[in-house]
């Protein structure tokens, strides 16, 4: 765990947090931050696809994908019913979608943790990540449609545009770029892969450092919004990651995943979305308060996972002795 704390990406995350706390004007220009996030997706997609192509379609692959998708459908349900009484159906549905979905950056930090520990993991876990974004969004909206009472001021709620919602869920930029890059990684030969590797592989960890600096800046800014949120959401945001990760590890154990894949599944289960899901919710469930679900996910759950969660889940996986741990 100390080793994780002293990894360069985590230190840059802390530096970003620190910058806000001393009120430094440090900022990463927004178009560049977005580009770096696209880079990370493209890069992990190509590498995942390339590896998947080498490994072929095994039962491990099917198990990993299935476990991920199942978690993404199921997590929103208990999240919703747990939070509904406290925060109302609309906000509970928004948080449900957020926590059923995943954080790609957390996943990337976890792969970098595994690389450093020289532990293998399957390229198909990238596909699992991509497939976990959409179901949670759809579940969240369905729960809101079914259980949320319409705003009393408003006589009629505007009809939900299912076409737009499904497009947003299935083809949002992150999902599209991840899956597209995976397919490309599977299609190109090893020679071609070697030629793009100096771009997609070599600078990867350095770019991740830069990106986590930005994440630290963003997380610290959002933290302030939580002051008025009450204790409930705060507790949920730090309790959900280990609980969901524990569930994911149990499933990984049940379906027989290797240790590396199990850690990634734990991180997918335990993380929450702060880019794709909020964008979809602003479109399809604008009544849910974004000052709740974004800071919970970005300012609490994300740091928890990156700093404490990943080494913690890895310790658990080693303890129960999954293959390869």
């Amino acid at each position: 765990m100390l080793e994780n704390l002293l990894s360069a990406p985590v230190l840059f995350f802390a530096l970003g947090l620190a910058a806000r706390f001393v009120r430094s004007d440090l900022e990463v220009p927004q178009p560049v931050a977005r580009f770096l996030s696209l880079y990370l997706l493209l890069s992990i997609g190509i590498k995942g696809g390339h590896e998947l192509h080498e490994a072929g379609l095994t039962t491990e692959v099917v198990a990993g994908l299935g476990a991920g998708v199942a978690l993404s459908f199921a997590t929103p349900i208990w999240t919703f019913f747990l939070l509904r009484g406290l925060l109302g159906s609309t906000n509970a549905a928004g948080i449900a979608a957020t926590y059923g979905s995943i954080s790609a950056v957390t996943f990337v930090v976890a792969t970098s943790f595994l690389d450093q520990s020289s532990v293998d993991y399957g390229g198909h876990m990238v596909a699992a990540m991509a497939l976990m974004e959409s179901p949670a969004i759809v579940m969240g909206i369905l729960l809101a449609q079914r259980f949320a009472t319409p705003d009393p001021n408003q006589t009629t709620r505007p009809a939900l545009d299912w076409g737009a919602l499904l497009r947003e869920a299935a083809f949002n930029p992150a999902v599209f770029l991840l899956l597209g890059s995976m397919v490309i990684g599977m299609s190109i030969g090893p020679g071609e892969f070697l030629e793009v590797a100096p771009f997609v592989s070599a600078p990867f960890k350095g770019v991740l450092c830069f990106f986590l600096l930005e994440m630290g800046l963003l997380a610290a800014r959002r933290l302030e919004e939580l002051r008025t949120a009450g204790i409930g959401p705060l507790c949920f945001a730090v309790a959900a990651p280990p609980v969901h990760a524990a569930l994911a590890i149990a499933i990984a154990w049940a379906v027989g995943l290797d240790a590396g894949d199990a850690l990634l599944l734990a991180v997918l289960g335990g993380s929450a979305s702060y880019i794709a899901v909020p964008a979809a919710l602003r479109l399809s469930l604008p009544e849910a308060n974004p000052s709740l679900y974004v800071p919970m996910s970005l300012a609490l759950t994300f740091p928890f996972n990156v700093i404490i969660g990943i080494p913690l889940y890895w310790w658990a996986i080693q303890t129960i002795g999954l293959a390869g741990a």
Binding site: E27, Q30, A33, R34, S37, N153, Q154, P158, E214, L218, E225, Y274, I275, A276, P278, A279, R282, L283, P286, E287, P290, S291, V294
Partner: protein, 97 residues
């Protein structure tokens, strides 16, 4: 020069397409559009940075004769009600070319 209304609409970026549609439906034949706009209102801060533009504003500026705009702004109202933002209407003169 011709008397027109100058309409200025500030909404969050995810509503851009909805407003574009309303403009088209109203038969208004032009608009000017600013992206990555920050602001503050009842729904808190919106910044011009961040990893997604879901929390940015866009500004539409529309010049159109009064008779075209009256019905249009009524269509905008429910969007503002649901997702926030403002709509200002003022008088201007349009240099016709």
């Amino acid at each position: 020069m011709r008397d027109v209304k100058r309409i200025e609409i500030v909404v969050e970026a995810p509503q851009e397409d909805a407003i574009r549609q309303l403009i088209e439906d109203a038969g208004i034949d032009g608009f000017t559009l600013l992206h990555a706009v920050a602001g503050r209102g009842q729904r808190g801060d919106r910044t011009s940075d961040g990893l997604s533009n879901a929390f940015q504003n866009v500004v539409f500026v529309i010049a159109a004769p009064a008779e075209e705009t009256a019905a249009f702004v009524e269509q905008v109202r429910p969007i503002l009600k649901r997702t926030g933002g403002i709509c200002l209407v003022s008088d201007a003169r349009w240099l016709k070319h």
